[in-house]
């Protein structure tokens, strides 16, 4: 779900310039604010929201908290992030169920926003949660909307109350009211009322929606809005707020590449929380919306929380501790190296995981080229070694390497590369374990106190990057450690992120992941 991918790219570009600076001048701030403004406008965030937002960011960026901060650029990133989270609704809200069933949920929105499909998704999601929803077909306007709801209901395995054929025949207010009564009789605990799409400027249709609302007194009114909507999001959201006064927002079609600025606009203008995100055509493509995570995504901090959750599922904490000990006691062997790799593979597709990592937005291209089979090849090489060789890589002389290469179906060159990569990794890990946590670029200002600690710690001298910027230096060192033999060619990845660099080398991501994970898992 690369929802805000493009906005992330834009802001990442903006901040790349900032990151290299030690101090921020007023002119720097203005330039950055201008870039943020443009990025947000390109992302279809409503103009008034943009103005408000950039105003706040500018004010705070010029204040004390930035000029006194150790790294002003990161501070600006943090401010932007905080403001984004605040606008997006700060906290996530869940559906409120009525004390006395049935809970009534009404759907409203523009034509083509995806209400009918959403009704099915919501119903299916509720069934999974142990509810017994019923759908009410109160869209009697659009040709065959009723039929569509019936089909969707059947797919979700949920009954549909559709007394009227639709196509302009029947009174939606009456259908909605009868639907609720019907649900009470049949003991359904949730009623989802699908209404016709309407334009915010269509007073008559808005009145009808208000009438439906009055007739059924819903517990939740969900406003369904297309993530692709432009500046009109403001006018539409306002019209619906005045007309039916919705209680929550559902963002649909988030699986496209729309920048989704509408999310910011609607949340900011109406103050209503975005509760769900609809992310595909199948009825299962539906999830609660996470404002805090989404903000990090916009800032290209990656969806770190999701990553941690996934990692914790697959990664044994004890195992990780043991590993950390090994790093510090210098007993890190090729076996451990292999073990790490295998554990990481348990976490699912590496590509998918990496796309959640900070800085990944800037190297989408490289991610595309990354070949997961490299890991399999590395595994083959290590598995072709004897026990003794794995614990003491120094044993590996020319003839042993030839034997291993034959056994693994690869070449001596590849074996050589693996060994030198391992040595660098071991060296790097040792530094890490002794307390010199290298910074992962972009992660410094992660909210929740996850980052920031590692800046300025001594870096390994050998082969280290000469970059003057600590974050960048860390990145380049990481890149070195993770499999790039010599200094990276400029532009190949040195500055782009957490050292995926050429990314053809299999070990690449694993050490970075490890470093990140070590940090995350209780250290």
């Amino acid at each position: 779900m690369a929802t805000f991918g493009n906005l992330s790219d834009r802001l990442a570009e903006t901040f790349k310039n900032l990151r290299t600076k030690g101090k921020l001048s007023a002119a720097d701030v203005d330039g950055t604010v201008r870039e943020i403004r443009r990025a947000l406008l390109d992302a279809d965030v409503a103009l008034e929201v943009v103005k408000d937002f950039t105003g706040k960011v500018r004010e705070r960026a010029l204040g004390d908290e930035v000029s006194k901060a150790l790294n002003p650029a990161q501070q600006v990133v943090k401010i932007v992030n905080e403001e984004l989270v605040e606008i997006l609704g700060g906290q996530q809200r869940r559906l409120e169920f009525a004390k006395k069933p049935p809970t009534i949920i009404m759907l409203a929105g523009l034509q083509g926003a995806g209400k009918t499909t959403l009704a099915g998704k919501l119903a299916k999601w509720l069934v999974k949660d142990g509810h017994t929803p019923i759908l009410v077909a109160a869209d009697l306007q659009r040709p065959n909307a009723v039929t569509q709801l019936e089909v969707v209901g059947a797919q979700a395995g949920v009954p549909v109350y559709a007394p009227e054929p639709g196509n302009g025949v029947g009174n939606p207010v009456k259908v909605a009211r009868d639907g609720v009564k019907f649900a009470q009789q049949k003991m359904h605990d949730v009623v989802i009322v699908d209404t016709a799409g309407r334009l915010g400027v269509d007073a008559e249709m808005m009145k009808q929606a208000a009438d439906i609302r009055k007739a059924i007194d819903p517990d939740e009114v969900l406003f369904v809005i297309d993530a692709m909507i432009g500046q009109d999001a403001v006018a539409t959201a306002k019209a619906f707020q005045d007309g039916v006064d919705f209680t929550g927002v559902v963002l649909s079609k988030l699986d496209g590449d729309a920048r989704g600025g509408a999310a910011l606009s609607v949340a900011s203008i109406t103050g209503r929380p975005i509760m769900f995100a609809s992310t595909g055509e199948s009825l299962d493509d539906f999830e609660p919306f996470h404002p805090d995570r989404m903000a990090s995504r916009i800032l290209d901090l990656g969806d770190i929380l999701t990553l941690i959750e996934q990692a914790q599922g697959a990664f044994d904490e004890d195992e990780a501790r043991k590993m950390a000990e090994k790093f510090s006691t210098d007993s890190f062997t090729l076996d451990d190296f292999l073990g790490q790799m295998q554990q990481l593979r348990n976490m699912g597709s590496i590509k998918k995981m990496m796309s959640m990592l900070p800085g990944a937005g800037a190297m989408k291209q490289q991610l595309e080229n990354f070949d997961e089979r490299e890991i399999v090849r590395t595994e083959a090489i290590i598995q072709s070694m004897t026990k003794a060789e794995r614990t003491t890589p120094k044993l590996l002389n020319g003839s042993r390497r030839l034997r291993i290469a034959r056994g693994a179906g690869s070449t001596v060159t590849e074996v050589n590369q693996l060994v030198s990569r391992f040595e660098q990794a071991a060296k790097m890990m040792k530094t890490v374990a002794k307390g010199g946590m290298p910074n992962i670029p972009g992660m410094g200002p992660v909210p929740g106190g996850m980052g920031g600690g590692g800046r300025g710690k001594p870096q390994p001298k050998k082969k280290g990057s000469k970059s003057g910027n600590p974050a960048k230096r860390a990145a380049e060192n990481l890149a070195l450690a993770s499999g790039e033999k010599a200094a990276l060619p400029p532009g190949a990845g040195g500055g782009t992120g957490f050292g995926l660099g050429g990314s053809k080398k299999a070990g690449g991501p694993t050490e970075d992941e490890m470093a990140a994970l070590q940090k995350m898992l209780g250290r």
Binding site: A43, Q111, G112, G114, T116, Q141, V151
Partner: protein, 291 residues
């Protein structure tokens, strides 16, 4: 029907054109108005600096001059491409594509009616075999428009085969115009976009395609450009249809689409009634937009 806000920038612009002279505030207001009409920051910058240059050249301070220049400037930009539909082939096959929920099916209904009023025989192919009840929705429209329809034999049938059968029948019966509906698809779904390419190829085996119309929703923001680019690449779009202009959205992004891709806007949809579809005329469009 209750009173509607007119589809126009005039509300946003009224204040600035009512003033006596052009000042710094005028430019800010103009920029805001254009951005709020979804023209996007780049086009907005271009238009504003062009107007600034013109105002300086003609040495005017009268806001009404500015208004006229804006109108003419937009009209000029919009009319660089030929917006006539090319339907002279027999049968003239029109393929209608777009993302989900932009109003493809409704547009087809209205377009069929539009053609029927000129007494053209029309056959509609319901190749949206994916969305629930899409075929029924289209059938209702076809009936209202007085056009024939070819339905898929089974739910989930390959859309390309429906398209093929439609064209085949039109050639046999001598129907003049064939309109083919397709399922809405987001431009990021590679597999679905390839399916479009396939539909196109299958039709072209029998007869060349006269028009591929991409339907764009006026409420869409800057993502419209990404949509257009992807659909042009996979479906060979020849014309744009802008729908939902009866709302408060201005659809300014189509200017960017037209300029970046060189594909003209050919039709505009302005309501849910069957007669609410008209050909695109840059003059009227600019006039209505600017006032």
């Amino acid at each position: 029907m209750a009173e509607r806000t007119p589809w126009s920038l005039s509300g946003a612009l009224r204040g600035m054109f009512a003033k006596k002279t052009i000042d710094a505030e005028t430019w800010d207001d103009l920029e805001d108005a254009l951005i709020q009409a979804d023209f996007g920051p780049s086009i907005t910058d271009a238009i504003v600096s062009e107007l600034r240059a013109k105002v300086a050249r003609y040495n005017t301070t009268d806001p009404t001059d500015l208004q006229r220049m804006l109108r003419e400037g937009l009209e000029e930009r919009l009319s660089t491409l030929d917006s006539t539909l090319n339907l002279s082939a027999r049968p003239a096959v029109v393929l209608v594509v777009g993302v989900n929920g932009v109003g493809k099916t409704t547009t087809i209904g209205k377009f069929a009616k539009f053609l029927r009023t000129y007494d053209r025989s029309v056959l509609i192919g319901a190749a949206d075999t994916f969305r629930a009840a899409a075929v029924e929705q289209l059938a209702t429209w076809a009936e209202r428009a007085g056009a024939d329809i070819v339905r898929p034999q089974a739910h989930g049938q390959d859309p390309a085969s429906v398209a093929f059968q439609t064209v085949e029948r039109a050639m046999k019966d001598g129907t003049e115009i064939v309109i083919i509906d397709t399922a809405g698809r987001l431009q990021t779904k590679g597999g679905l976009m390839d399916e479009l390419t396939k539909i196109r190829k299958v039709i072209e085996k029998q007869t060349p395609i006269a028009e591929v119309l991409l339907v764009l929703d006026a409420t869409t923001g800057q993502n419209g450009l990404a949509q257009a680019e992807a659909f042009i690449q996979h479906a060979g779009v020849t014309g744009l249809v802008l729908t939902k202009l009866d709302g408060s959205a201005k659809g300014g992004f189509v200017l960017a689409v037209q300029e970046k891709t060189g594909i003209p806007i050919k039709l505009v949809g302005q309501g849910e009634g069957i007669n609410d579809l008209t050909g695109f005329t840059p003059h009227v469009f600019a006039q209505k937009l600017v006032g």
